[in-house]
């Protein structure tokens, strides 16, 4: 029974069905989605570690393979990541109670003066689906507020997003403000958005430039591995 639930959970991650109301790719797959199956797994005393490893992560691995062979596209990847993110919300209190750490804490924000948040939202969904604890601070966020969040929430990573050449300068301001407040070495800063580049990341002293959400996952996973 437990194996059946985990198998079904993995399949629903692959299909990108967050809840029982969602359509997957295979129209014949109905019934409970990832949210319901995660709850059901817990009800059957399956440990969060098994749910994550054999259900959620195993499913996302297949999704990643299908994406790399162009069988899946970004909407498929996002649907699966969203489903995994919803499952992680259910598991989070249990993980905290048992002192199991997530892969890492990630705060993401579109900087002051910029209201464009599509890219930032997609990165947030993908990272959550990849097992990171994501705190999405929203768009057009003042530098002071970002500093405050870093101080209080203590993220391992801070993602700064900007679409416009006129607003990307705020990224440099954030990094300077972090330095002034003695927080720069507490958090790795990643930048992304149409206006910025690898060169710009170096220029303002960011730790990395990520061209998209997949690059962000690669960068964060590499940092995690380096930590380990």
């Amino acid at each position: 029974m437990s194996e059946d639930i985990i198998t079904l959970l993995k399949e629903n991650v692959i299909q990108g069905r967050k809840t029982q109301d969602d359509e997957g790719i295979d129209e014949e797959l109905t019934g409970p989605g990832v949210v319901e199956l995660t709850q059901s797994a817990l009800d059957h005393d399956i440990s969060p570690a098994v749910i994550i490893k054999q259900g959620l992560t195993a499913g996302m691995q297949v999704v990643g393979e299908k994406f790399s062979t162009k069988e899946y596209f970004i909407p498929d990847m996002l649907a699966s990541a969203e489903a995994v993110g919803a499952a992680m919300d259910i598991l989070k209190p249990l993980l905290e109670a048992s002192n199991v750490e997530t892969k890492g804490k990630f705060a993401i924000v579109t900087v002051k003066g910029d209201i464009h948040d599509i890219g930032k939202n997609i990165v947030a969904i993908l990272l959550k689906g990849a097992g990171y604890e994501v705190n999405d601070l929203g768009a057009d966020v003042p530098t002071e507020k970002i500093v405050e969040i870093v101080r209080e929430y203590k993220p391992d990573y801070l993602g700064l997003s900007a679409l416009l050449t006129t607003t990307m300068v705020a990224m440099g301001e954030v990094i300077e403000a972090l330095k002034e407040n003695g927080l720069r070495d507490k958090v790795k800063v990643l930048i992304g958005g149409a206006a910025v580049s690898n060169e710009y990341a170096k220029e303002i002293g960011a730790d990395a430039y990520c061209v998209d959400g997949f690059e962000a996952i690669r960068v964060l996973d590499a940092c995690q591995e380096a930590k380990a």
Binding site: D22, E23, I25, I74, P75, A79, N121, I122, A124
Partner: protein
């Protein structure tokens, strides 16, 4: 169910109704003054006995007559010509029903080229960085063969945007003669595609062999009438205004057998037709109408297609310039003229001036392909694979063209706006507006897999790499490796027994080799 083609809701037209009528009137005047020179005696006699004014032209190297065709004769012929023409196919689902008043477009290959262009991909190493290698396509021209024709029909069978097949390459094998060329080109085409096959005829002596072959394939004379799997194209009027003897004779015999036939004219604005639009239009229309009139005098009710291949002259060589913008204008005008007469139209697009696949070829082809498709001709010779005007055929180019036509077909789908769509969309907008992320991405997937979204360009490389040719070549190889439905073994045996001249190597069942 025949093939659907693409119905153009509101065809793009350049001429006003008044301009169309002016061209018609000018053509009527041309048919009387100066009239046409006719080098074919039977045609002259038919015109003469039906009220045309005929006078011998002398002195002349060949006997010929000046034929002045009165308007009434033309109008009677236009009345008698069928307004709907069916082109059948070995697979009846590939039949084409062409109605003169309905702008439903079918995409067909085109023309007979002498040269076949092979493609190879040699590797080049960067001198300053020997680790960097690139593969650059190399195009090698050679004379076309019957094996090439089989290959071309095979690939075109699998190109989904193609509705029919005009033999693409002139077969020039050593064992091909004037007397066996027709049976071999028709057999090679029919045996490798289940779509409609059209061709010109090289030798009138072979007409009955070709027709008998078609009868054997469909099961008899009545069956061929119901499902004409072959049709012919003839350029019986050479511009300006001359009925050619041998082609007119062939034309008469095809009309007598009541098989579908295209009356085509291909004047060149600047040399064999006036350079101005009004001039080439009045002349080409007169030439086509003269042919249509003859078709109905030979055999009332002959299924005839208004064929137009007008072209502008290049100013540097006085050769054809199919890539010239005016060439597209003339073609669209001709589509309008055919529609004015309620006859199905054979039109031309996609022919390009450039000699090899590449940027110029794509620009020239796509420009005319889009515009002429929008004008709504029924039978669009869209030059799959043709290069260097009509001189070269390249299978790789045909595969590239298929990608263009997939885009055009998608673009011409009707708008998807109705009560259900609006209701569903409003629900989505309200749902998304209530979420923090405000993204519609989760609704994409069903649409993405339903075929409602256009596909990306199929030969897009990774990153900045331009791998278009290499990827198209891969696709070409895939298509060649897919089987085609050949004519069955019993019928093939019958054809080889009863139709003389077909090369034994074309028998896929290896009988008689």
């Amino acid at each position: 169910m025949p093939r659907e083609g693409i119905l153009i809701d509101t065809p793009f037209e350049r001429m006003t109704k008044e301009q169309v009528e002016k061209i018609h009137q000018a053509s009527m005047e041309i048919l009387i003054d100066p009239g046409l020179i006719c080098f074919n005696q039977r045609a002259t006699e038919m015109f003469n006995s039906n009220g045309a004014q005929v006078t011998p032209v002398s002195p002349s190297d060949h006997p010929c007559w000046l034929v002045k065709i009165p308007e009434k004769l033309v109008l009677d012929a236009l009345d008698n010509a069928p307004k709907t023409v069916k082109l059948g196919a070995r697979n009846p689902h590939n039949s084409l029903i062409m109605k003169g008043e309905e702008p439903r477009v079918f995409f067909i290959t085109g023309s007979e080229t002498n040269i076949w262009l092979d493609v190879e991909f040699p590797t080049y190493v960067k001198k300053s960085d020997p680790d960097t290698e690139i593969m650059v396509p190399e195009f090698k021209p050679r004379r076309g063969t019957v094996a090439d024709l089989c290959q071309s029909a095979h690939v075109c069978e699998h190109l989904e945007t193609l509705d029919g097949y005009i033999r693409t390459v002139n077969i020039q094998d050593k064992d091909i003669t004037e007397d066996n060329k027709d049976v071999n080109k028709f057999f090679a085409s029919l045996n490798n595609t289940t779509k409609h096959v059209m061709s010109g005829l090289t030798s009138l002596s072979q007409l009955d062999n070709v027709v008998n072959m078609a009868k054997l394939i469909v099961g008899g004379e009545e069956e061929l009438k119901a499902n004409p799997i072959i049709s012919f194209i003839t350029c019986l009027v050479k511009s300006p205004l001359q009925f050619v003897d041998d082609t007119t004779e062939t034309f008469i015999e095809i009309c007598r057998r009541a098989l579908p036939i295209v009356v085509s004219s291909s004047p060149q604005a600047g040399s064999t037709a006036p350079i101005k639009e009004a001039g080439i239009m009045a002349q080409i229309n007169a030439e086509v109408l003269a042919g249509i009139t003859l078709s109905q005098l030979v055999n009332k009710g002959t299924p005839v297609i208004y064929g137009s291949v007008p072209v502008r002259a290049r100013m540097d060589t006085l050769g054809d310039s199919y890539g010239a913008v005016e060439t597209s204008q003339y073609n669209i005008d001709c589509v309008q003229m055919a529609r004015f007469y309620k006859l199905p139209n054979y039109s031309t697009s996609g022919v390009c001036d450039t000699k090899t696949p590449g940027t110029q070829a794509s620009v020239e082809r796509l420009f005319s392909d889009i515009l002429i498709t929008l004008s709504g001709p029924q039978y669009l010779h869209c030059a799959y694979g043709l290069l260097d005007c009509n001189s070269v055929f390249c299978l790789l180019q045909a595969v590239l063209d298929d990608a263009h036509f997939q885009m055009i077909r998608f673009f011409l789908k009707p708008p998807r706006i109705n009560e259900t769509e609006i209701a569903e969309t409003l629900k989505q907008i309200r749902e998304v507006a209530a979420t923090p992320q405000k993204l519609y991405i989760s609704y994409i997937r069903r649409v993405m897999r339903s075929g409602e979204l256009s596909a990306p360009y199929p030969f897009e490389g990774d990153g900045e790499a331009d791998n278009v040719f290499a990827l198209a070549y891969q696709k070409m190889q895939q298509l060649l490796s897919k089987p085609v439905e050949h004519i069955d073994q019993a019928t093939t045996s019958k054809i080889f027994r009863e139709i003389p001249g077909i090369l034994p190597r074309l028998n896929v069942y290896e009988e008689g080799r």
